[in-house]
């Protein structure tokens, strides 16, 4: 009988080459899903958990900026890029307004520490509103492991 796998009369041999192919593909798959999604956020911020929130789509990263709200020694520190503010947030309004002017579809992600009082987040929303940005989102984690 022609065709079919194996051929010959002997015992089917274990093929090492296709197994290595499969192993390497699996290895690359697991490497990519673990490394591509590793968080790259401020280490001072412990994000809250929201398992039912939507996954972030990484497409629009040019159009978005992150405002980080850390909470240390009962004081909120607001960071945008490399700059940080504590009390007077006018500088942040100006900076965000400039970003919005340069890119009309600019959006902001608020990354707040889970211990931050709600009023601090409201202040940040107020600043974002003053800068004319209407599209915002709150950052959270999928799990807390």
């Amino acid at each position: 009988m022609a065709g079919g796998g194996g051929g010959g009369d002997g015992e089917p041999e274990f093929q090492i080459a296709p197994m290595i192919d499969v192993l390497l593909v699996l290895l690359i798959f697991f490497m990519s899903i673990t490394s591509a999604q590793v968080l790259q956020i401020d280490k001072d911020i412990k994000l809250p958990v929201a398992p039912d929130a939507k996954k972030k789509d990484g497409k629009n990263q040019i159009n978005e900026g992150a405002v980080n709200v850390a909470y240390k020694a009962n004081k909120a520190a607001i960071k945008f890029g490399s700059l940080s503010w504590e009390d007077n947030l006018q500088g942040l309004v100006d900076r965000l307004s400039e970003m919005k002017r340069n890119n009309p579809s600019y959006r902001i992600i608020i990354r707040g520490d889970r211990a931050v009082p709600a009023v601090e987040i409201q202040k940040v929303m107020n600043v974002i509103g003053q800068a004319g940005i209407d599209d915002i989102s709150f950052s959270a984690l999928n799990n807390d492991n």
Binding site: I16, M19, I20, L23, L24, L26, L27, F30, M31, I33, T34, Q37, V38, L39, I41, L47, P48, V49, A50, P51, D52, A53, K54, K55, K56, V69, I109, G112, D113, R114, A115, V116, P117, A118, V119, E120, I121, Q122, M125, N126, I128, G129, G132, I133, D134, D135, I136, S137, F138, S139, A140, L141, N142, N143, N145
Partner: protein, 155 residues
């Protein structure tokens, strides 16, 4: 003497070949590591929201008043739905709250009405608790959310 040398060279040449078995061992270990890590990986999620002010007003369109639901977030962590506390203050999942919201949303959808949720958080209420509430709202598929913190100023 030359025979011994020749034998040594032959043995070295034989060992120079690529060893497949240890490579498979190593690849297996690395793959197991990444498989285990894949389950525990933290991914950033987002709860989208829209601030007012930019949305164009449509005066000609007759607007139906939405059903407004007031959600309170207290400093103690208690979450209230129209001033009724449904879950314990330390319950992160808020099952009764989420179920009630889903029921209200379903009922409003059947009538063709919109649901508007106003989150009234106390000034010192934890942001984490506000996110718990937003997570429940996302679960119940409620999209219209406004915020009020402490005083009457809000979004």
């Amino acid at each position: 003497m030359s025979k011994v040398k020749h034998r040594q060279l032959a043995a070295e040449e034989a060992n120079m070949g690529f060893q497949i078995a240890p490579m498979i061992d190593v690849v297996f270990v690395i793959m197991l590591f990444f498989m285990v890590m894949a389950g525990a990986v933290k991914v950033e999620r987002e709860l989208k929201s829209q601030l007012p002010g930019i949305a164009p007003a449509s005066p000609t369109e007759e607007k139906e008043m939405p059903d407004e639901i007031i959600v309170g977030v207290e400093e103690s962590g208690a979450v209230t739905l129209n001033e009724e506390e449904l879950d314990a203050a330390d319950n992160k999942v808020l099952p009764n709250f989420t179920a009630s919201l889903a029921r209200l949303k379903q009922e409003a959808d059947n009538r063709g009405a919109k649901v508007l949720v106003t989150i009234q958080a106390e000034e010192q209420a934890k942001y984490e608790r506000v996110i718990d509430v937003l997570n429940s709202l996302a679960k119940a598929k409620v999209a219209n959310v406004t915020f009020t913190v402490g005083s009457d100023q809000g979004f």
